[in-house]
Symmetry: C2
Subunit: 190 residues, 2 copies
């Protein structure tokens, strides 16, 4: 997606340890017009899909998913919660997100009420690098016996293992911007 | 807002310690059509306002603010972050949210880059009870020398002190559903 790549080049900041920050339009301040362009693009790509629900993860995923939903008949968005107290929900599907970069483990949860067997799910998330968050969302969908139609990712670092790992599991993953390297602080797309 | 009140009555769950859960359409699963109805209603109420930015707080605020923004020329949304590691940002405005209900203190942060002096800000949030989160957002706006046009709240418990506290400070607060009591698990609106 050309507009997105242009914005990443213009506003993205590369920090040590391979960290890309796009806080100015996606992860802290949100460019709402861009969110709807992203929604339109996912609609074009997943045009054959009729999701019952969109599944994402807090926090940045929520703005994206809200815009995407408007292109899929305003289907409900469910956002997975991170690191909540266990007593917040009576019954949840849970998955552990192992963060290689941070060396820590987080609990990802979705209430059992909001995912049903055979639900057709479109997963939407902001970043895919090692695939930790996406893997947790897929794990939760497996537990809930949902049918995952595909995964729509805004920014993917294709030189990290996440994309290949998840495609190898048989899932359809579509990424709007694919970064093939960030050597010396320069961002290169595929 | 009649539709919202109906949904709160139909789907809201009242738990001990005066907790209202509306997880099925606002705080975990999100009814996207409703978000846009909420956006339309805030536009009607704040029709005279021309915000440069909408300020909200993660996580549930993000979906609401995304929809609201579309009625205000797609102005950028900035969401405050909760409990982030301090080294996540170079420079942030910070405020402490003292939670009376949980007896704990949280750090609320917004990067200094995304709020500028004299920015016209519309604050949007999901709940107002004791006013802790809203107070923190207002504190951050004061630090950034922003001009707060108003605060749009989806659900307010008017029998708790938040609304009065913040109106007393001179801010305009508009609430779409005002709950006057939840005695015996029954929800009553003003």
């Amino acid at each position: 997606m050309k507009l997105l790549e242009e914005m990443i080049i213009k506003y993205g900041k590369v920090y040590p340890n391979d960290v890309l920050k796009i806080d100015s339009f996606l992860n802290h301040q949100i460019d709402i017009k861009l969110m709807f362009e992203i929604g339109k693009e996912f609609k074009r790509i997943f045009n054959d899909c009729k999701p019952d629900k969109i599944l994402t993860i807090e926090a940045s995923g929520i703005g994206i998913a809200t815009a995407v939903s408007t292109y899929f008949d305003y289907c409900p968005v469910v956002f997975a919660k991170k690191d909540r107290a266990l007593n917040m929900f009576n019954e949840t599907y849970q998955s552990k997100e192992i963060s290689y970069t941070r060396g820590s483990t987080k609990l990802i949860e979705v209430s059992r009420e909001y995912l049903s067997e055979n639900d057709n799910i479109l997963i939407i998330d902001d970043f895919l690098a090692n695939g930790e968050a996406l893997n947790s969302l897929l794990d939760i969908c497996r537990q809930a016996k949902c049918n995952v139609l595909g995964c729509g990712i805004v920014v993917c670092k294709t030189y990290q293992p996440g994309l290949k790992r998840i495609e190898k599991l048989g899932y359809r993953v579509e990424c709007l911007a694919k970064i093939k390297s960030m050597d010396n602080g320069e961002i290169y797309f595929e």
